[in-house]
Amino acid sequence: MPRRRDAVVRRGLRHVGRAIAGQPRMFTLALLGSSLYAAMTVASAFVIGAVTQRVVLPAFAQGHARAATLTLAVVAIVGVAVLKIVGILGRRLFAGIMGYRLQADTRRRVTGQYLRLPLSWHARHPTGQLLSNANSDVESAWFFVSPLPFACGALVMIGITTVALLLTDPLLAVVGLVVFPLVFVTNIVYSQVMSPRVQRAQQLRAEVSEIAHESFDAGLVVKTLGREADETRRFAVRADELRDGLVAVGRVRGLFDPLMEALPSLGTLVVLLIGAGRVAGGATTAGDLISIAYLFTLLALPVRAIGWVLADLPRALAGYDRVTPVLDATGETAYGPEPAPTRDGGAALALTRVGYAFDGATRPTLSGVTFDVPAGGTVAVVGPTGSGKSTLAGLLVRLVDPATGAVLLDGVDLRRLREGEASGQAAFVAQGTFLFDDTVRDNVTLGGGYDDDEVWAALRTAAADDFVGRLPDGLDTRIGERGATLSGGQRQRLALARAVIRRPRLLVLDDATSAVDPAVEARILDALRAAESPSTVVVVAYRQATIALADEVVWLENGRVLARGSHDELLADVPGYAALVRAYQQAEVAA
């Protein structure tokens, strides 16, 4: 597939260009460092040659050494080394900065997109994929940057060396002109042979991990059916394939490494062979011969940097290709010009013929949904799994926009509100509770300017004050990876406090109290309704106890409102409703 390979090389070079264009200053600095290093590496070889020619050989021939030339030799050796070190530091530091900045910038753009793009976009992409786009994919996209200046420096070095060789002795230059392209070609062949093997190993790694995940999740089934040995065999088969894959990778590496080492060594030996003749014939000096021989031994490492960059490009491209769709995704939420109504108390909510369909779905999730909730009223939305309840809840706070119809808050279409107005009026607590890796206080206030009294009051309303009071650092306790681990019910109560503290005019609870005691739930809703200016509440519920708190129940089936009324009316008139409520009731029995 030579054409595909060409494409990879061309796209790879374009990607290198992208990296340079992204950080031109750092690249230039790193390249300067690398070039200084390259020049000094060549210089050090010539210093060694000069020392041989002017200090060592004369001293041995004449039987005495001049202190001045010896001092000069020392100064030259150390001076060149110091400059070389400056070059290395510059190259490594600036190349590092360049790579890490590219990573950080891309990561900022990717996460910026995540925050900007509508939730309908999020729904189309698996969480795991989005996380790896922002983490490992970004990393692999710019991994090649750290050896990039080194590789460019190696090109400079080859250039300088070729010129130096030509100036020193044209015949010896021929050796270089044979060895350098050979090194180059070996590198390219290496990266071509290597990349499919590396990809296969990567694939096998993923498969091994998949089996482990599945098998451990199934632990109880495996054990109680006594299938440990079968599972181990299944795992061993894939682990062995992975081993073979890695050995195949190793075999190529194992061949390439000694080859890359042998080429400069062979070059040096050929230089000696030809050079000895030239020295004997007086065409060149022993010092020059030593310079060139030394140069070849020094050249081996930098030239390999070219191979590192080339070998890493396919991976970088693959990573970048996965990140690009995120960066290019469009579909920003558009906001209108209107401020939210500044009334007190609950907001009046109205839905007029609201329809919504997920991308690629054959039938709409919601269609023709019309109902209203008077200011301060409480409505329960009930329906079987997949009836569209959660989608409806999201529409009410403009997590998504309806495809048809409109959601009106105090008579204003949510889409006509300015940015931030909808979230200022309405609070939403989702099915799965999300807590930030932050303190209890910040998880409740989310940066809003509430004082501790207000936080405690909200925690009290959400029945979370008891357990928060018992946490080691109270409100300052960190939650998440490194902080306190909370139970599902505790997490839900914190999320409720987060909603309550904002005194929202509209509160939407999407099955947000499933892990909270019904009595606590009743207390929370009562507190909201008992307030001087009660919130309007829409609650997606399963429990009879919750439903009982609502003024009205909206029965949703297959994305349509099939009935509205009080709990008792629906029980009597809607068989599906009665069956569902009963089924959940049974499931919940306090076994």
């Binding site: 290395i88 530091l93 790694r205 451990f216 081993r243 890695l246 080859l259 062979l273 009963r582 919940e588």
Partner: protein, 605 residues
């Protein structure tokens, strides 16, 4: 956590690991022999330079080109042989380490299945997965480059020193003295590098958490209008990660160049001292030049170490984690393996269950999950165990299936004179006769038939379909797109929770146990599936001793007997109808259930 704590040195870890990886030692002498040749080849060039200068160019009779030719050709041969040796060494090394690591991986996998922690928290499961995946991968990645570089570097140092000593002991001492400060500094460097990379790892953790907020927390961010605040948090985490990485880069680069500087001083010193030695007639010009070439071999190992150290630490930490898992002794061991002479089979026929003063604590000193439980269940009885969350119901199930052993007392299976203590039953017999249907009847990413066959390997698709028929699930399974050949998706997610339960019941049914332990699912199912479940369960439990951890009172109503468990004790025992009438917790439980579903017709029992 800036400096990783070190409960155990690297050497101790290696020793512990090598004991567990016998594959690793196989063929090691040959690999080392190849390594010796490989490193020896590296000094060929300096020797050739020395010979060319001293004998080829400035020999007594003028330049001797024939000698140079012979010399160069010999050296070319040596270089080629060296290359082949390096190749062979690399391949051997990769093969040995990968084989050893694959063995370790499989052993750890099997061991994890024997550990009871697998059946406890969902969170710890993820970390057990990384014991057999990323931790082992890290070692493999390190071995593929760091390991080889390490072996070669050390060999290179030894051989270079030996050659230098042959040329001139004075200059050798000089070079070694130059490198002594470096050797001392290496320890300091290692500590410093460990610290900075420790910080980087920590920042990576923070970064992952922050990035997750923009994905997992997206609805919350949107609903509360906190986009800018979240962006700022992510920005901070990205910035901190960036700064830690750049700092680490600075430290690594400084360590790296130290080698260069020392080499330069060594070169200068060799020239100065070498010229004096030469004037005294101790060494030749070629020897001096050869030294300059040999010094380059000295620098490389130091530089390699600075590059490899971070990987090495990661690999070592991973290695330690894998070994630690392997070091955890399984709570329960198969008597057929642990004490083959004492292992017994379960008696034929239906099994009874007897608890003899059984107490169980999850940890020493903890409140007992079960306390002094003493009871017997006759063969073929269907028993429902009810109680609040945390009352000890699940512990019952785990003890009967011997996922754990009692802290005190014992569990016996069988009845009358044929009773066998559970601890003496060979697993092969136990697992064939006692089957548990866990709450979450996990399904594998395969077809329905494959999942059912898991209970009885070797069944055909036809057998599986017949089993569904017998359970009254024929119409359901035939209604699926591809019948029993329908794939269930990852974790069975293309089926509903209730349908997954149906498959799990069929799996238990084909296993044909004599004692069945059911942990009833709590998830709500639609009424149609509910009816199917009830019917299938009736067929499954028919004629078998059954212990059901009941979450629905309808299950309790149908059972032959109900056990009411609270705080680790059996408070009540009897038939549903009797218990409802009696004063006690069951009556209260039942009343609360009736209250909460007031106004509704009772489900058909």
């Amino acid at each position: 956590m800036t400096v990783p704590s070190r409960p155990e040195g690297a050497m101790a870890t290696l020793r512990r690991g090598l004991r567990l990886m016998p594959e690793f030692r196989r063929g090691l002498p040959a690999t080392f022999a190849l390594a010796l040749i490989a490193t020896a080849g590296r000094v060929v060039v300096p020797i050739a330079v020395q010979q060319t200068i001293d004998r080829g160019l400035s020999g007594p009779g003028g330049p001797d080109l024939g000698l140079v030719r012979t010399l160069v050709l010999t050296c070319v041969a040596v270089v080629l042989v060296t290359g082949i040796a390096v190749y062979r060494m690399n391949v051997r090394l990769f093969r040995t380490t990968e084989t050893a690591l694959a063995g370790l991986r499989v052993r750890a996998f099997r061991h994890v299945h024997d550990l009871s922690m697998l059946h406890q928290q969902g969170e710890s499961r993820g970390s057990l997965v990384s014991r057999v995946t990323s931790d082992v991968d890290q070692m493999s990645v390190f071995m593929q480059w760091g390991g080889v570089l390490g072996v070669v570097s050390v060999g290179q140092l030894v051989v270079a020193t030996a050659v230098m000593a042959v040329y001139s002991w004075q200059l050798t001492v000089l070079v070694l003295v130059c490198f002594v400060p470096l050797a001392i500094l290496v320890r300091v460097f290692a500590r410093k590098l460990a610290a900075v990379y420790g910080v980087v790892r920590e920042r990576v953790g923070d970064l992952l958490a922050a990035v997750a907020e923009s994905v997992v927390g997206a609805p919350t961010v949107r609903a509360y209008g906190i986009r800018e605040r979240t962006a700022a948090r992510i920005d901070t985490a990205i910035g901190r990660h960036y700064r830690a990485s750049v700092h680490a880069q600075k430290v690594t680069a400084s360590v790296y160049v130290t080698g260069e500087l020392v080499a330069a001083f060594a070169n200068a010193a060799v020239v100065v001292v070498g010229v004096q030695l030469g004037l005294a007639g101790d060494i030749s010009a070629g020897t001096l030049i050869a030294f300059l070439f040999l010094i380059t071999l000295f620098v490389a190992p130091v530089q390699t170490a600075s590059e490899v150290l971070n990987e090495a630490q990661n690999a070592m930490a991973g290695f330690r984690r894998v070994l630690d898992v392997l070091a955890v002794a399984p709570d329960v061991r198969d008597p057929a393996v642990a004490a083959p002479d004492r292992a017994r089979e379960l008696p034929r026929g239906p099994l009874g269950v007897r608890f003899e003063h059984v107490t169980f604590r999850y940890a020493p000193g903890a409140r007992p999950a079960l306390e002094d439980v003493d009871l017997a269940v006759a063969p073929r009885q269907r028993v429902a165990i009810v109680g609040e969350t945390g009352s000890g119901k699940t512990t019952f199930a785990k003890l009967v299936t011997r996922l754990m052993d009692p802290t005190e007392g014992r569990v016996l299976l069988g009845s009358g004179p044929e009773e066998v203590p559970l601890t003496e039953v060979a697993f092969a017999s136990l697992r064939a006769r006692v089957v548990m249907v866990p709450q979450d009847g996990f399904l594998f990413d395969a077809t329905i038939a494959d999942n059912v066959r898991y209970g009885c390997p070797g069944m055909t698709d036809g057998d599986v379909a017949a089993a569904f028929d017998q359970l009254g699930l024929g119409p359901w399974v035939e209604g699926l797109e591809r019948g029993v050949a329908t794939p269930v998706g990852q974790r069975g997610e293309s089926l509903s929770a209730g349908e997954r339960q149906l498959v799990a019941i069929a799996r238990a049914y084909v296993a044909d146990p004599d004692l069945l332990v059911l942990d009833e699912a709590t998830s709500a199912v639609d009424p149609a599936t509910e009816r199917r479940l009830t019917r299938a369960l009736d067929t499954l439990t028919d004629g078998r001793t059954t212990l059901t951890i009941a979450h629905r009172l309808s299950t309790a109503e149908r059972a032959d007997e109900v056990l009411v468990v609270d705080a680790g004790r059996v408070l009540q025992r009897g038939r549903h109808v009797d218990l409802v009438e009696a004063e006690g917790p069951y009556a209260r439980l039942h009343a609360s259930w009736r209250r909460s579903s007031a106004g509704q017709p009772q489900p058909a029992a």
